[in-house]
Symmetry: C2
Subunit: 497 residues, 2 copies
């Protein structure tokens, strides 16, 4: 079986073998084991117990997990500690949703013989879809990987999870899986509520497996689209909830640029270079007005970008892709380089790169400039009037976020917000899109290619992806699940104390 190596992105060197790729038999075993764990997860209180046990378990091994992830991703201890804290918070957040039960969507209709057609007694709730495949992301080794939001929300829904680990952090994935599986057993549940596989072909086999009922994915447009196509081509197609790529456009109004060019420039550079620009919500295209106010903003951004600290990207392929992507965009007609992305070897980080910043007039905006470039690069697009800004927006695909920098509620701001809401699932006013709160009202999803489905992978509604509705018609109370009973019919052992 093919070995799986861990690599140090700071040096590009191998850290040795940490696992093997799963062959077809291993994929089948994992899917079957997940299916066998379905009944154990049907116990809703047990799911809340499990999620809280997982929060405790990752916190108990935090130092070890963060060190493992830093060695494989170069994302740094502070960022990774924050990410792991977010993971623990997220497990407890979904445990709270499981306790509360609103996600079950219980609706009860009394019979109505006068309706057309007549209405029998109907009781609806939502049940788990079945075992779920989750594809981990490169850029969040915790929060969008083995212990991430897809896993937490699927378990909350009652669905066992098979994770296809990302090749950028296989050792971390193994360590997290071991932690979560042990905690599951300690909580009295099968370890196989979660398992981890490695290997490209294993991922494809997993999506094709008849027992897999839905797929969650966070990654690139080509990789995500290929797996989306596999899921759609199955004899029994399954939902594929993929987050693929996002340009995250920003529009700066003339009045905003005039009022606070330096502040906007500083915020923008901090946002697009955060984590070396490896956030799915990185702003990758910024509409800046032509003229002196926009010039001041661009100049300030150029100064700040040039001073940004170099760092390593997640792997050598991304480093090469980033440098090539910058070079191709910088060479496009009409493009001006405000800060040159380049290799910038530093002490102990021979693979480090520095951030780039490009500028182009709206009239010259070419094809590749409207596509995401993963890494610390953004493109300022200078527009002369609203019509030119609208022409740029009309060429963009869907995004996770769209941001408006306006001068308070200036005239036209409401119309821009409405326009931006057609492009994205989250519209940010006056702030920056990087950073995604785990919250009931969050939407982390948007029109294609931001996501393949109009839904969210972060926040309370993420659980909806792993459920399907079932209606019970004229079923007597003694045969109903307790969730569908009125409180006075609950058996004494289930009634609230």
């Amino acid at each position: 079986m093919e070995p799986v190596l861990s690599r140090d992105p700071r040096t590009g060197e191998s850290r040795g073998q940490v696992a093997v790729e799963a062959d077809a038999a291993a994929v089948d075993a994992a899917a079957s084991a997940a299916s066998a764990a379905l009944d154990a997860l049907a116990d809703r209180p047990a799911r809340a117990v499990l999620l809280r046990a997982w929060a405790d378990a990752v916190e108990a091994r935090a130092a070890e997990l963060v060190a493992a992830a830093d060695a494989e991703t170069a994302l740094g201890q502070p960022r990774l500690s924050g990410e792991l804290a977010r993971v623990a918070y997220q497990f407890r957040f979904f445990a709270g949703l499981v306790d509360e039960g609103a996600f079950l969507g219980v609706v009860v209709d009394r019979p109505d013989p006068a309706a057309v057609p007549p209405r029998p007694e109907l009781r609806r709730w939502k049940v788990p879809v079945g075992p779920v495949a989750v594809f981990a992301a490169s850029n969040f080794p915790f929060a969008f990987s083995v212990p991430g939001g897809d896993t937490a929300s699927a378990i909350a829904a009652g669905c066992p999870v098979v994770v296809k680990a990302h090749p950028d952090h296989p050792a971390t994935s193994e360590l997290v899986a071991e932690t979560l599986r042990a905690a599951a057993e300690k909580a009295g549940l099968p370890a196989d509520v979660l398992s981890v596989l490695h290997g490209y072909q294993a991922g494809t086999d997993l999506v094709r497996h008849p027992l897999i009922a839905a797929v969650g994915f966070t990654g690139s447009v080509p990789g995500g689209r290929a797996l989306f196509d596999v899921a759609a081509a199955r004899p029994v197609p399954v939902p594929f909830y993929g987050e693929l790529g996002s340009l995250n456009p920003v529009l700066v109004t003339e009045r905003a640029a005039a009022a606070r060019a330096d502040e906007i420039a500083a915020g923008l550079v901090a946002s697009y270079t955060l984590g070396q620009g490896q956030f799915c919500t990185k702003p990758g295209l910024v509409l800046v007005p032509a003229g002196p106010a926009g010039d001041a903003l661009a100049a300030a951004a150029a100064r700040t970008a040039a001073a940004a600290a170099p760092g390593a990207l997640l792997d050598a392929r991304m480093r090469d892709g980033f440098l090539a992507g910058f070079a191709a965009r910088a060479a496009a007609p009409g493009v001006r380089t405000l800060a040159a992305a380049a290799a910038a070897p530093a002490d102990g980080i021979p693979q480090a790169i520095r951030a780039g910043l490009l500028e182009v007039d709206a009239a010259d905006l070419g094809g590749e400039l409207t596509e995401e470039c993963f890494g610390p690069l953004t493109v300022l697009v200078r527009y002369r009037d609203a019509a030119e800004a609208e022409a740029v927006l009309s060429r963009l695909g869907g995004s996770l976020t769209a941001t408006l920098q306006a001068d308070g509620a200036e005239p036209g701001a409401a119309a821009w917000l409405t326009r931006l809401s057609r492009l994205a699932g989250r519209v940010v006013f006056g702030g920056w899109p990087t950073g995604v709160a785990v919250a009931p009202a969050m939407t982390h999803g948007g029109p294609y290619p931001a996501t393949t489905s109009p839904t969210t992978s972060v926040g309370a509604a993420a659980i909806d992806r792993w459920l399907r509705p079932v209606t019970y018609q004229t079923v007597p109370p003694e045969l109903l699940p307790p969730e569908l009973l009125p409180p006075e019919l609950l058996p004494p052992e289930l009634a609230a104390p």
Copy 2:
């Protein structure tokens, strides 16, 4: 352009040309006009006004519409009058949902700097996905066609609709479209909130059209799967909500058969021959216990089926398909014919057929017997014990419904209900699946091939298919839609009186 003919299914004869097939330019014009109508439907109160105006409009022309549909479908005036009443009820039902606004899914998070990561102010709601393509069904010329549930729920969501008419009732489709378009204009909205196209190629072109944001479909497995594949293969894939095919299994327990064989037989035959068996919820496979109680049930069903009134199917292709489907199943190894489906020409209905009833031992159950046969036919599958019944259920695909006939809450009934809930979106206890109430708790959908997506096309949740979430982050109140404002910040003209 290709002519579209109306046909009389009772005689098989043409009733003349009523429309032309849409070419690519006509499809493009319809999609563009629908897109242009989006802004008008963004006005939520206007949508409720429109839906109520449509209810009034179809009621005002009820006699004319029912006559048109009966001439093309042979479904009969009583059934079609009921179906049209259901359509009017459904329009008003969705108007009520639009008034109420719960479908907007408004969630507001106050800022929480202590959360990990910190939580900004977030306000989430749902917005229309865009223009929707709806494929009308053969068997419900009103309730699942031009004025049906997909149209009503999409308009309620704020999405203009382009309907691909079913070739079995083109004249009815034209008449309904004319009625609804005129009512829209009278209500101050563009007629193009709804338009109708004819033609197979037009349907495919419509699904491929870049302005179409989602598709609703009710029809056959081959037709639905072909269009699902087209939707998935688009450069920008769109959700395809298809209802494709459903066997609707019934399980009769030994004790139920012993207690009320005649009642169950009568209910079963009434259900599977209703509307000449052309309901998507027709029970097509019935697990009946081996032994004397089951024998009595089968004998009673055979007597009742033989006495069922012959009638015409929706078109000649379905008639041929039904008779061939019956013959193939009847000839399969081990199958016993309890009532022979056959041509049964009647006065004025030369194309009439009579219902069939087949029986087979569970051990002999062959492939085609577990597939839907459209028309008045069901298959009794005799099982000797629970293991044999389970073996049959494990071979079935997803269904819209699954029904349990038990002796009250007998031992084992709860386990059977849980088992059946894995196969279907609606589990019926002691009743029959035909007849779908338009109600908040209804689920009309199930695992593939019942539907392509775990959702419902009937009832309140049908509206969710045409919406996507958008979150506003730190947007000042004066720039928010009124739905996202707390009541005390509503402008006076929008506050409740």
